[in-house]
């Protein structure tokens, strides 16, 4: 299977690789996937007092599309309010990276990681977690 140039670019030069302080109340962490499935994605966001994401970091164990999906997600998250970030749809990632059907799973994982990170942040700061309307599984 040939990857799109965008997947290769994100894979070769991943954006925002790293780790934020998980214990900080300004940081939300989402860890999704499982080693036995071949994909684990960890996405972290740092949120300021106006609920705007000022930083995002990721680390991913998985194929090229999984790495590219999470790298792209961090780029999109930066500068967004957490409410806007919650609206990121996996199909936007599929479209941007031109993922083939067999790799849609990777984009779903990225969307789930975004939502998990936001909800981690919300719960830490006394807000209710937001239930996802989409059923992926």
């Amino acid at each position: 299977m040939a990857y799109s140039d965008k997947v290769i670019d994100h894979y070769t030069n991943p954006r925002n690789v790293g780790t934020l302080d998980k214990s900080s109340h300004k940081v939300g962490t989402g860890l999704v996937g499982a080693p036995e499935c071949g994909d684990v994605m960890r996405l972290q966001i740092q949120v300021d007092d106006n609920n705007v994401i000022t930083d995002a970091k990721f680390k991913t164990f998985g194929c090229g599309s999984a790495i590219a999906s999470s790298s792209l997600a961090t780029e999109w998250l930066k500068g967004k309010s957490i409410d806007d970030a919650m609206q990121i749809d996996n199909m936007d990632i599929v479209e941007e990276l031109a993922l083939p059907p067999v790799k849609i799973h990777c984009s779903v994982l990225a969307e789930d990681a975004i939502k998990a990170a936001i909800n981690d942040y919300r719960v830490k700061n006394g807000m209710e977690p937001i239930e996802s309307e989409k059923a992926h599984h």
């Binding site: 780790t19 080693p35 071949g38 960890r42 164990f61």
Partner: protein, 403 residues
């Protein structure tokens, strides 16, 4: 050195130019049908087929009358297993094989199960070898066939074929082996090894695709198989269809070359393979899969913990290798062979198979080592699992959100 570098010789091999040269006349000037007995065109083709049959037989210590040409090892496996089951089912309906066999054997066994066969799938030990005591225990008076591969396609492990054959024969069963990866790479002798049926393929030994052979023992015992294809009764009635003369000539030539060069080639390949394994297992948390002693000279299967095989292959884009990860398939299931060794799913997802071959050079192996090391390091820097491992977090203690 030209890029990309081909290190997937278990999947297929490039054709040796000497094989191509031998084949070429049989496409045009010597195009006759080997079954045309009444003119020179037919005789020329028949003569070429006879010669190739001798070349193939010689490589495995057989008689040329015991060689049946097929389209490849998959067809040979099908003809052997279905053919034996249909021929001997009145004697018994039990067949024994192993969980690490190629799909050409496993799926054929599944097929005969539907026709009333009872099949035992033996597990393998952690090093990939079958347990001879378990085989012995599985034998029953109903057992008509034991089918165990010679050398494994994914991990290269060589089974104790001689001992397996002896057990099968002691209980009155036939012994068949899928020797697709072994023939031409290591000495295989149907008489010394006690093999009754053997499947092989030209494209795994620098010959053309679409041609293979089935060895069927003629004496002690005389083995019969029910034909799976009806037609003109070619190949002693076991496999009808006009002979693929250029392919057969190519298979014959490939066998002759392997026979002549096997010893030096095995020494060259295993030295390079050992170096590859040694250099790559210098990396932390990397492991060689399968028995390292009883192994085909050209295969290395290595797990790099905390990186995913397909992602890794992408970082090694100048290397054509194969991954134990099945991330590209809808099932996301990692290799069943690696899982049969008892590897956890995550380790099976983290495996790469390197298959060296006749045209692999020292320089290419050096390059592969360098590229793989760099790629593993790059991906571990990206891996949350590697970070957790480095922090001393037990990954089994984490409640993973499975998808």
């Amino acid at each position: 050195m030209e890029l990309p570098i081909y290190l997937d010789n278990n999947a297929t091999t490039p054709m040796d130019p000497r094989v191509l040269e031998a084949m070429l006349p049989y496409f045009n000037s010597k195009f006759g049908n080997a079954a045309s007995r009444n003119h020179a065109f037919g005789w020329v083709a028949e003569e070429a087929v006879d010669y190739a049959r001798e070349q193939v037989a010689k490589l495995i210590g057989a008689n040329e009358k015991e060689i049946i040409f097929t389209s490849g090892a998959t067809e040979s496996d099908n003809l052997a297993i279905k053919g034996v089951f249909e021929m001997y089912k009145d004697k018994g309906n039990h067949v024994i094989t192993a969980t690490t066999e190629h799909k050409a054997v496993l799926d054929t066994c599944k097929h005969i199960e539907k026709l009333g066969a009872r099949v035992t799938y033996l597990d393998v030990k952690a090093d990939g070898l079958i347990d001879l005591a378990e085989l012995e225990a599985a034998m029953t008076p109903e057992t008509i066939l034991v089918s165990i591969m010679y050398g494994n396609n994914e991990i290269g492990v060589i089974q104790p074929v001689k001992e397996i054959a002896a057990i099968a024969h002691k209980h009155g069963a036939l012994f068949m082996t899928d020797a697709t990866q072994a023939v031409g790479k290591i000495p295989v002798d149907v008489n010394a090894d006690g093999i009754d049926l053997l499947a092989m393929s030209a494209h795994k030994m620098y010959g053309p695709k679409g041609i293979g052979a089935l060895y069927v023992r003629r004496k002690g015992p005389r083995v019969k198989v029910t034909a799976q294809m009806d037609g003109g009764g070619h190949e002693r009635g076991m496999r009808s269809g006009t002979l693929n003369v250029p392919g057969i000539v190519g298979l014959g030539k490939a066998c002759e070359l392997c026979n002549a060069e096997m010893e030096s080639e095995a020494a060259r390949l295993s030295a390079m393979r050992d170096r590859l394994q040694k250099e790559l297992t210098v990396l932390e948390e990397s492991y060689v899969n399968g028995n390292v002693e009883h192994r085909l000279p050209h295969v290395a299967n290595i797990s790099f913990k905390y990186v995913e095989g397909e992602g890794l292959m992408m970082a090694m884009k100048d290397l054509a290798v194969s991954s134990g990860s099945a991330c590209t398939s809808a099932s996301l299931e990692p290799s069943y062979v690696l899982k049969s060794l008892g590897l956890s799913d995550d380790l099976a997802h983290s495996s790469i198979r390197f298959g060296l071959g006749r045209f692999t050079t020292e320089e290419e192996v050096d390059y592969a080592i360098e590229v793989t090391k760099k790629a593993v390091t790059h991906l571990r820097d990206l891996s949350p699992l590697w970070e957790m491992f480095k922090e001393g977090i037990d990954l089994n203690s984490i409640e993973w959100a499975e998808h």
